[in-house]
């Protein structure tokens, strides 16, 4: 793992969290989806918050694809979970939200999980091919 790869994981983390928050903002404007007209949800794509959210999610998707090209899925998912921590810290710092002790414990657990998984290998080592032992007949032919 080099700095460039850590930056890709950081981009996955940031764009994913911001994109989700923007989608929620847009869906608040749109209102509840009616089960009798499920395809009406497509018209939500006209909402500017949804559009900016989608732009963030495209950036998230590009960096996520890049990360998956050189790391395992079971490594990338926990390693990028620090986005939840980022949102909580941004919430307390800039939005002056009240964060309960349970949330801080959640932040601590996620940080431990991320720290724990990023210390391990990013990619499963390819299995070495087993050396094939020739059968007795083949050994006889070789001899």
């Amino acid at each position: 793992m080099n700095l460039k790869k850590y930056l890709v994981l950081f981009a996955v983390m940031c764009f994913g969290s911001i994109g989700d928050a923007l989608l929620k903002r847009g869906m608040n404007d749109f209102g509840p989806v009616d089960l009798h007209h499920p395809f009406r949800v497509v018209t939500a794509l006209g909402n500017p918050w949804i559009l900016i959210g989608i732009a963030c999610l495209i950036a998230f998707f590009s960096s996520y694809m890049t990360a998956l090209s050189w790391a395992d899925l079971s490594y990338v998912l926990p390693a990028t979970a620090l986005g939840y921590v980022l949102v909580t810290i941004l919430g307390t710092t800039f939005l002056h939200e009240n964060v309960s002790p349970a949330r801080w414990i959640g932040v601590l657990l996620i940080s431990c999980g991320v720290g724990w998984v990023t210390r391990g290998p990013a990619l499963t080592a390819p299995q070495p091919r087993e050396a094939r032992i020739p059968s007795p007949e083949e050994q006889h032919e070789i001899a």
Binding site: K4, D20, L23, K24, M27, F30, G31, P32, V33, L35, P38, V41, A44, F61, Y64, M65, T66, L68, S69, W70, D72, L73, S74, Y75, V76, L77, P78, A81, Y84, T88, A102, R103, I105, G106, V107, L108, L109, I110, S111, C112, G113, V114, W116, V117, R119, G120, T124, A125
Partner: protein, 125 residues
């Protein structure tokens, strides 16, 4: 009833997201390291290789289902329930699917990390 519908939508998000993750991971491993490919052959070749992968296109279909399920779930329930519930369940479902379908070496380190993140995300709501 509304609660049942909400959990069905969350289940659809988890299933579609985990399935999409596994298909995308498989497609990207077949394409190879995008950094190296981009440095050697340029952006157009990278895009061409990625788009030609059938698993990538299937992953996009799964993510589309997951995306509209997420929009629906967010319109029915609070983001403080939908986001952590779907995210934490997706961590576990993806780890299980990666082990089964991608034959990844999900060792004790990754299981513990997935569980810590899962519990942490639930506490964040």
């Amino acid at each position: 009833m509304k609660s049942l519908e909400l959990w069905c939508a969350i289940f659809a998000i988890v299933l579609a997201s985990s399935g999409g993750d596994v298909l995308l991971s498989s497609a990207m491993k077949r394409v190879g390291d995008l950094h190296e490919l981009y440095a050697e052959r340029g952006l157009l070749v990278v895009m061409g290789r990625v788009v030609r992968e059938k698993r990538f296109l299937l992953a996009l279909c799964c993510f589309s289902v997951g995306f509209f399920s997420l929009l629906t779930a967010l319109s029915w329930g609070d983001a403080s329930l939908v986001a952590p519930a779907s995210a934490s369940l997706t961590f576990i479902a993806s780890a299980v699917m990666a082990k089964i379908f991608l034959k990844e070496d999900v060792d004790h380190r990754r299981w513990i990390a997935a569980l810590l993140v899962c519990v942490g995300v639930v506490l964040l709501r």
